[in-house]
């Protein structure tokens, strides 16, 4: 802990955001990176707890207090080395992770938590800038071959860890590019895709073989082990009257370019992060207005994402009863809702409805499975951890 009194002196300061009026006009990342100086100062707020709940809360066990201390002391390189030891994709989690660590931060008990996520991002971007992030292929190859099916965070995590152990890893991806949900589920304005490309290039140089547009259905031949990490692919549906109407999209379809919100009245059903991503995307497409509804009551502390700031009405405790369309073109015109607290029923106009209700968990059948495919839909950071754990298991079995 660089400065024991840091938390009393320095106020929390997160990364800045570009002005709403500016950012809604493009698909570039909404936030601006913090200066190194700010990050160093923010790191001093970390108390280097004897029992760091952040480290406990972080699914991959990032050495948060250690790298905070190093950043405070301007030992960026060491901080980067420690960050890299636990996290294969800090430049992704540093942007889009919901930051369980910050929720767990001890300082958060009676003050604003440390800006852990932003510190993580600062370290990795600093490292890229300095050219420290270089391929580090294993010193020796074991001669074993491993196939990883799926190139989302879980699959990549497994691939990277096994490659580090010296196994030859081939990653198969059904789509045309590597990244899975990170590439196709997260809008550009939250995560510019060149970030992923930058990393994948390094991994290629470390010796991982990526094969895209390979929709593998059964264990491929010629591998000593196969890991399945295909994600959770079945979106949860809302089977209510009117579901067959036009203009109702699953979030993932919407985010990958289906449907266009331009000039439309958009309703996003589902109050989670994906829902927020849909809000942001809809606004960028030029939606007339956006409403987001959530089944659960309003929590005591409402998380406002950047997308919400860009214009969105949020409603809580709303149950969707049915989709209402016109007879003419069979497309949706409004949704019939019920307020679960007051019992009042009403309609919300909508000519584009997005279902952001998560995904269904399916029972995995394969021996080695990782990520959402195994656990059901979850966070990127959990998928990274799961990929790592499966990799360890596979490594032991080889």
């Amino acid at each position: 802990m660089g400065n024991p009194k840091g938390f009393l002196k320095v106020k929390r300061k997160t990364c800045g955001y570009r002005p709403v009026c500016e950012r809604v006009k493009d698909y570039n990342e909404v936030f601006t990176l913090r200066s190194d100086r700010d990050s160093e100062e923010q790191s001093s707020r970390c108390m280097d707890c004897g029992t760091p709940f952040c480290n406990f809360g972080c699914p991959i066990g990032n050495y948060i207090p250690e790298w905070n201390d190093l950043v405070y002391n301007r030992q960026w390189k060491k901080a980067f080395e420690l960050l890299e030891a636990t996290n294969i994709l800090p430049e992704v989690t540093g942007r889009v992770c919901p930051a369980l660590c910050e929720a767990a931060c001890v300082l958060g008990i009676n003050d604003d938590p440390v800006t852990i996520k932003d510190n993580e991002l600062a370290i990795i971007e600093h490292a890229f800038k300095k050219g420290w992030v270089v391929p580090r292929p294993p010193k020796k190859r074991t001669g074993k071959k491993v196939a990883v099916i799926g190139s989302g965070p879980a699959g990549l995590s497994a691939a990277v860890h096994l490659n580090r152990k010296g196994h030859l890893v081939t990653v198969f991806e059904k789509d045309d590019k590597i990244g899975g949900i990170m590439r196709y589920g997260i809008p550009e304005f939250k995560l510019e895709k060149h970030i992923l490309d930058r990393r994948i290039k390094i991994w290629e140089q470390e010796g991982i073989v990526f094969k895209t547009e390979k929709n593998i259905k059964k264990n491929p031949d010629g591998f000593d082990a196969v890991i399945w990490a295909c994600g959770a692919l079945t979106p949860r549906d809302l089977k209510i009257p009117g579901r067959e109407l036009e203009g109702i999209y699953f979030a993932m379809d919407f985010l990958t370019g289906n449907g266009n919100a331009k000039g439309k009245k958009v309703v996003v059903i589902g109050g989670g992060d994906t829902g927020a991503d849909c809000v942001g995307t809809a606004n960028r497409q030029g939606a007339r207005c956006v409403v987001q509804i959530e089944l659960l009551p309003c929590p005591p502390i409402v998380k406002t994402s950047s997308s919400h700031e860009e214009g969105c009405e949020r409603k809580w405790s709303i149950e969707t009863k049915r989709f209402v369309g016109t007879d003419r073109d069979l497309s949706v015109r409004s949704i019939r809702c019920k307020n679960r607290e007051t019992g009042e029923e009403f309609e919300i106009e909508a000519d584009l409805v997005i279902l952001a209700l998560g995904f269904l968990k399916e029972e995995p059948k394969e021996k080695f499975c990782a990520g959402d495919m195994k656990t059901g839909p979850s966070l990127i950071v959990r998928a990274i951890n799961d990929g790592f754990e499966v990799a360890r298991e596979v490594d032991r079995s080889l």
């Binding site: 009194k5 004897g50 029992t51 406990f56 030992q75 001890v106 008990i109 009676n110 580090r164």
Partner: protein
């Protein structure tokens, strides 16, 4: 301390007569007689003119009686721990009773303890006959010694041997007395070796002296031995001893005096001393004896070798010469020379010795035992632990003095004079050319040619670090602070990680060892403030025969610091001087320990004088054998082969990095250590920018930190020099198998067995393989010991358990509590504590309603001693309110309590009395239900504490009765407890002040704590608390948190078993604490012997603590452990939470009790039969663990059923209270006079007491210890005569006037300790530690011994005479004015915290007023002389001003003139 027979390994192959007898050395359960301690009263009376008389004998016996309060009685009130007398042979008397005696001097005699069995006695006598003849002497016969056993105790009678006396006539070929004494010695040794029967013992065998002693109480000696009553029984010398032993089975033969000496104190380095004697191939120490007996054995050997008694004693117990520039060079040379071949016997000691002609006495180098003497006008010298042991009329007294550390008191009865210390020393040092010998032969490492070479690993550093088990934490938390600040790192909140043997992770061998520490029977030393006595200087290389002296004896390599730099090591490696030769032996595997030992032996035979055991060269194929294992094996091997003293052992290892590691290496025999990899780690930190220092400075800082830490570890055990610490094995192993102990650490206790060589090997391999794994990471492991980490070591307090208990307590949710209890109790994945491996046996359950109710169980709960100061005000009060609500007890901790809390629900029922005595006012004491004497605390036993000035807020200063902003130091020992009888005295003091409070004593678990507790029980404590070594703390060196003290399971079980075996358990209650959390923990604690249970960390966690472990930084973000008002605001704890928790705990416990079929806690205490080991839970390393000793269940009363007899019914204070002001006679057995009276006054009148001089008492005579203790406002004590130790202890506003016609020592040691207010005028001199930790008394005295005004924080002291050394050490406040007539004060003053100044006008006024008072009250001629010529004389005063105090006073503009008119 005594050691069992096994100390010497297999018995020599002589014919051993098998005899019956009581079992002396039996070991039961955790109790072992090997850890008994004793301490005592010692004294002598001698006619300087050598005039033999029966009167001297009677006087000797009289002294014995008057010291009886310093002895102890066991469960049987008529059986003492032993007492005896050593006199000149009363020839006339023996001639009368044994007519065939030849003339005096031509025969030897001695008393014998013989077996009760007739046949066996016959066999002994036959052996005598045979051996005496073989030695060419004549056996004259045996005489039955007449005894009267009607008065002695039951157990003494049961074990009484037959006592006879033997007479041996001098053989023809024996010429001198010395030759004859040697013959007698040879006879005795031969018989001792031939007859190993437990009821056989030769008291002594001499032509000069004879000893009478036994398992008697002091006053019984005279009645028991009828000889002593005969008027013809005459001697000019009577040396006496009365024993206070902690032990459970005191024996006849361990009574003192021994052949030459009587000893009050304890030899801490005994294990090493015995080993070193053995290493020399000298077999003189009789197994089964006490430390004092062993010292006597060696002393005897040295004198019989032809050295004088004084010379021998100076060899064994040297003064603190290393840093004493005031000592004559010749004397220092003498000590230095002898340090080359005799390690000091270190520990508190007052020793009286005689050979029948001369009598002498010495103190240990630190003066830790009291010894006073009086010389009378008619040529008598009386020396004893106390003054006043003989009623001598004041006009008869010529001189009254005290023994001084490092000085010898010596009487030659042939030349009829007292020989001055200077003279006696001069005689000794001038007999040889020690100085010249040293110059010519001793080589200084600093003078050796610099080689310039220094090896650096460089390449693969991270692999090396990993192979040796370095973690990132080691670098960040251990090495960095050491290299940065030259200090050992500090941490907090205890240790909740698994014991090494239970941990799933590979552990360094060091982690299996726990540091032992001094408690009660012997004081730890303050290595900072009393650095004058500490030394790390080493004399390395081959040693010569101790029985002769030659120039070559000092052919040694002198090394100032035992931690070698690489370059220094190279100097030794290439040494070519003095016949020195160095051999490097690799300890890199594959290689066996046996091979290393043989190599070492071969090297010695080849003439090597230094062995370097080196683990350089670790690579993929070669791993390092643990350096500790290697040094232990080699050292033990060489000791066994009597080769160890031929060589110096140097360790060159990558392994040691923490202070604890170094301490172990030295403790198990290393002479010097070179930690090359630790240095490289320092270099790495510099390179990577973690340290903003150059590498040389950083390495030097690191080394400084190690040295400091080493001194601290030595001092915890009460050891002052590395030379006597080396090989002393002051450790206990936890989890190592017998096989390992036997080969490498013989003699080290390892009570539960554990890991063998294969496990140790496997742990090394695991680390090594991980380091050199293909495609392994360069990153060091996380560690996770000091801070929890997801991928680090397991902690019982972890995010899950902390959240669970906080939720449960806040939401009053028993379900959540059970989740918490599950997280703690189910340790199947990672056993952590010893108790985790237990399970309850199946039993017949009872309905829960039959079990003792929650309310009554909660009365047994107490909270740990956490001071207001270590935790915030709101936190402290929250705990107190909760405990008062449930009928439990909260504890003030050290540092007092705001009197505003005394009468309301924020009051702490337990008021602690710790070594700093802060805030321990009379009023505080009378407002307690329990007074707790804190001897040690789990996290840092044997250490003191310090509250830096910046943390001493106005409120803290107020409750501690000190000044805001002035640093407060708590010394490591209580300066009024250096031994067990001193503790008994403090218990007596406290009981007097507040007779309605129970007195408890807090000890920390370590081997031998049971026997210490037995002593404490004999000292009349009402309750004994055994704290586990894992307990939490506000601030403590990290190594102490982890490595000092043992878990309570062991300490509690040992204590309980020892007390039961000793029939003392029924007199005293037991409490335990240290990481207790759940109902299961409480149940196990009860089963192992506790009636009450303490909680500290859990209290804090419930109050919001999330284990930041920042307590020592004053930076607690949740407002628990902080004094920062901004942070304290954040405190969110509530008494209800704590109340909820205790309700859950009691409920949980009741559920367990119901399942076990137990109705009350009392029924549960000691029921180890309800526990068994859960074998399948033991992890891979722990398969060899054996818990049977912990689970041993002795027969006997197993919980407290009766009250202690405190002996306060018929004391002088009762009379004072009844009769009020007036004149009284006083004698040394009138102890703690004034304490009860003061308690009464504060009970009635509170803090302010009575107006000045309301009650006036005038005493004549010799006052016993603690005269005027806690003297309350309004009381004036005047004493015409002398006083013993602890005058004015804790004085709280009273006035004390002591005058004596004598010029010399008038009051004893440690006066005005922790005194708070009041005035004192002493006409005459005081002993050591005058005004130690004085908070505010104004005192005048006419001279003081060593360590004057130590740790003082307030008050004004005028010293009208000489001072001893180390004046003002640790003095942070108050002012002393020293009348430095001869200008010799400055070098005696420790100026680390003070400045010497001229007196200001204000100061002069203060001094004048005090002197006027002094003259008014005592008619002091010195005061008068100064006052008569004040203007001139005041210029000769020096003002001793603490630097910090001065700054604070200037800042605050506090009025300096606060002295009353008197």
């Amino acid at each position: 301390m005594a050691f069992g027979l096994n100390t010497f390994g297999p018995a020599p192959k002589t014919k051993v007569l098998k005899m019956l007898g009581y079992e002396k050395y039996k070991t039961e359960g955790l109790y072992s007689p090997a850890f008994e301690h004793d301490s005592c009263g010692v004294g002598f009376v001698v006619s300087i003119k050598g005039e033999k008389s029966h009167d001297i004998v009677e006087k000797g016996l009289q002294i014995l009686k008057r010291l009886s309060h310093r002895g102890a009685v066991g469960a049987d009130p008529q059986t003492g721990d032993g007492a005896g007398i050593l006199v000149q042979i009363p020839h006339d008397f023996y001639k009368k009773v044994f007519p065939k005696l030849p003339q005096f001097g031509s025969y030897g005699t001695g008393l014998l303890f013989l077996p009760p069995n007739k046949e066996e006695r016959k066999a002994v006598k036959e052996a005598f006959l045979k051996i005496v003849e073989k030695e060419g002497q004549v056996l004259l016969g045996f005489r039955k010694v007449p005894i009267n056993e009607s008065e002695i105790g039951e157990s003494a009678r049961k074990t009484r041997p037959v006592i006879e006396q033997v007479f041996i006539f001098k053989g023809k070929r024996v010429n001198t007395r010395l030759e004859f004494e040697r013959k007698l010695y040879a006879i005795r040794r031969k018989i001792e070796k031939e007859i190993k029967a437990e009821s056989f013992y030769i008291l002594n065998l001499s032509s000069r002296t004879v000893a009478y002693k036994g398992l008697l109480m002091a006053e019984q000696v005279e009645e028991f031995f009828l000889d002593l009553k005969d008027p013809d029984f005459k001697s000019a010398i009577a040396l006496i001893h009365s024993r206070y032993s902690t032990n459970t089975f005191p024996t006849w033969d361990l009574a003192q005096p021994f052949r030459f000496l009587a000893h009050n104190g304890e030899i801490n380095t005994l294990r090493g001393n015995i080993n070193w004697m053995r290493a020399r191939g000298i077999d003189v120490i009789v197994p089964g004896g006490s430390d004092s007996a062993a010292l006597d054995n060696v002393f005897e050997l040295l004198t019989l070798s032809g050295r004088s008694m004084a010379h021998s004693m100076m060899m064994l117990i040297p003064g603190a010469w290393e840093h004493d520039n005031l000592m004559r060079k010749e004397v220092r040379d003498f000590y230095k020379y002898h340090a080359c071949f005799m390690e000091p016997w270190d520990g508190p000691a007052a020793i009286a010795f005689t050979d029948g002609k001369d009598v002498g006495a010495v103190l240990d180098r630190n003066g830790l035992r009291p010894a006073r003497y009086i010389v009378t006008n008619d040529g008598l010298v009386v020396m004893a632990s106390e003054v006043g042991v003989l009623d001598i009329k004041p006009e008869q007294i010529k001189y009254s003095g005290r023994l001084e550390p490092g000085k010898m008191f010596y009487i030659d009865t042939e030349t009829n004079r007292i020989v001055e210390d200077d003279e006696i020393k001069e005689e000794i040092y001038s007999s040889r050319f020690y100085g010249q010998w040293l110059t010519e032969n001793m080589v200084d490492l600093d003078d050796l040619h610099k080689t310039g070479s220094s090896v650096r690993t460089g390449r693969d550093l991270s692999l090396q670090l990993k192979s040796f088990g370095y973690t990132r934490e080691d670098l960040k938390i251990i090495i960095k602070p050491m290299a940065e600040k030259g200090q050992e790192p500090v941490g907090s909140m205890g240790n909740d990680t698994p014991h090494a043997v239970l941990s799933q992770r590979p552990q360094l061998l060091y982690n299996y060892f726990k540091q032992l520490f001094a408690q009660v029977t012997n004081p730890p030393i303050d290595p900072i403030r009393e650095e004058v006595v500490m030394s790390l200087e080493s004399y390395v290389g081959p040693q010569r025969d101790i029985l002769s002296e030659s120039p070559e004896h000092c052919r040694k390599l002198r090394v100032h610091e035992p931690i070698l730099l690489n370059e220094e090591l190279e100097r030794i490696r290439s040494i070519q001087k003095n016949g020195f030769k160095t051999k490097t032996i690799s300890i890199v595997s594959p290689k066996s320990l046996d091979a290393i030992c043989s190599e070492a032996e071969a090297a010695i035979n080849d003439g090597s004088t230094f062995l370097i055991l080196s683990d350089r060269g670790v690579d993929k194929k070669h791993s390092a054998i643990p350096a500790l294992l290697a040094v232990g094996a080699v050292h033990q091997h060489l000791v066994r082969k009597a080769l160890r003293t031929k060589v110096g052992i140097i360790i060159e290892s990558g392994e040691p990095r923490e202070v604890h590691h170094f301490a172990l290496l030295f403790g198990y025999g290393a002479d010097l250590v070179n930690p090359y990899l630790a240095y490289e780690a320092v270099g790495l930190l510099v390179d990577e920018g973690s340290l903003f220092l150059d590498e040389t400075t950083a390495v030097n800082n690191y080394r400084k930190a190690v040295n400091k830490g080493l001194k601290k570890i030595l001092s915890k055990m009460g050891i002052s020099t590395l030379n006597s610490y080396r090989g002393a094995q002051i450790f206990e192993a936890l989890g190592l198998s017998d096989e390992v102990i036997k080969k490498c650490f013989e003699g080290t206790p390892s009570r539960i067995g554990g890991a063998g060589f294969e496990i140790i090997e496997k742990e090394t391999q695991l680390r090594h393989q991980a380091a050199f794994a293909e495609n392994g990471s360069d990153l060091l492991d996380t560690g996770g010991i000091y801070q929890w980490r997801k991928d680090g070591e397991f902690h019982l307090w972890n995010p899950e358990s902390i959240s669970a208990i906080q939720d449960a307590a806040r939401n009053n949710d028993y379900g959540r509590y059970k989740e918490f209890a599950g997280l703690i109790d189910d340790q199947s994945k990672q056993p952590t504590s010893l108790r985790s491996s237990f399970k309850f046996k199946a039993a017949k359950a009872i309905p829960i309603k039959e079990v003792e109710p929650v309310e009554s169980i909660m009365k047994r709960f107490a909270t740990g001693a956490m001071s207001f100061g270590s935790i915030s005000g709101p936190a402290h009060e929250t705990i107190a309110i909760a405990m008062n609500a449930i009928g439990g007890k909260s504890n003030t901790g050290e540092g007092g309590e705001d009197p505003a809390r005394f009468k309301d629900n924020r009051r702490s029922a337990i008021k602690q009395v710790a070594s700093g005595r802060f805030g321990v006012t009379t009023n505080y004491l009378v407002n307690a239900d329990e007074l707790q004497i804190k001897i040690a605390q789990g996290a840092k036993p044997g250490e003191g504490g310090q509250l830096p000035g910046h943390k001493v807020s106005a409120l803290i200063a107020k409750t501690r009765y000190t000044t805001k902003g002035v640093t407060l130091i708590s010394p490591p020992p209580h300066h009024d407890i250096y031994s067990i009888e001193d503790l008994a005295q403090l218990i007596f003091d406290l009981k007097n002040v507040n007779p309605s409070a129970r007195i408890s004593v807090k000890l920390v678990s370590e081997i031998g704590v049971g026997t210490v507790a037995a002593g404490v029980a004999k000292g009349h404590a009402d309750m004994i608390l055994i704290s586990g070594g894992e307990g939490g703390t506000g601030a403590s060196p990290i190594s102490s948190i982890r490595h000092a003290g043992l878990p309570w399971e062991l300490g509690l079980a040992e204590t309980h078993q020892t007390l039961v075996l000793n029939n003392l358990r029924s007199r005293v209650r037991l409490q335990t604490d240290g990481q207790i959390r759940t109902g299961r923990d409480v149940a196990i604690a009860a089963m192992l012997g506790a009636e009450e249970f303490g909680f500290a960390t859990t209290m804090l966690i419930i109050s919001g603590c999330v284990m930041l472990r920042h307590c020592h930084l004053n930076n607690c973000s949740v407002g628990v452990a902080t004094q920062d008002p901004v942070l304290a605001e954040r405190f969110r704890g509530k008494p209800e939470y704590i109340i909820n928790y205790f309700n859950f705990l009691a409920r949980d416990l009741r559920e367990t009790m119901a399942l076990l079929g137990i109705r009350t806690i009392d029924e549960l205490v000691g029921r180890t039969d309800l526990l068994e080991v859960d074998e399948k839970l033991l992890p891979w390393k722990a398969k060899g663990l054996d818990y049977s000793k912990i689970l041993y269940r002795p027969k006997g009363e197993s919980h407290c059923t009766q009250k202690q007899e405190h002996g306060i019914e018929k004391i002088l204070d009762r009379e004072l209270i009844k009769k009020g002001s007036g004149e009284y006679k006083i004698k040394n057995s009138d102890r703690s006079v004034g304490a009860m009276l003061s308690g009464e006054i504060c009970k009635k009148h509170g803090e302010k007491g009575l107006p000045e001089d309301s009650l006036r008492f005038k005493f004549t005579g010799c006052a016993g210890q603690s005269f005027g203790a806690w003297l309350a406002p309004g009381i004036t004590f005047e004493l015409d005569g002398l006083a013993n130790d602890y005058v004015g202890k804790g004085m709280f506003g009273g006035k004390l006037i002591i005058h004596s016609p004598l010029k010399n020592i008038v009051i004893g040691n440690t006066s005005f300790y922790g005194a708070i207010r009041g005035e004192a005028y002493i006409r005459g001199m005081a002993g050591e530690r005058f005004c130690v930790r004085n908070s505010g008394v104004n005192a005048v005295v006419e001279g003081v011994g060593d360590h004057g005004c130590e740790y003082m924080t307030g008050g004004r002291v005028v010293i009208l005479g000489p001072t001893g050394r180390n004046f003002a050490a640790g003095m942070s406040g108050g002012i002393a004015y020293v009348y430095d007539k001869l200008g010799e004060f400055e070098p005696k003053c420790n100026q680390a915290m003070v400045e010497l100044e001229e007196l200001s006008l204000g100061d002069q006024k203060t001094v004048k007023r005090l002197l006027e008072n002094h003259f008014k009250y005592t008619r002091s001629p010195i005061a008068k002389a100064v006052l008569d010529d004040f203007k001139a004389e005041i210029k000769r005063f020096v003002k001793v001003m603490p630097i910090e105090y001065k700054r604070v006073l200037t800042e605050e503009e506090i009025e300096l003139l606060e002295v009353g008119d008197g």
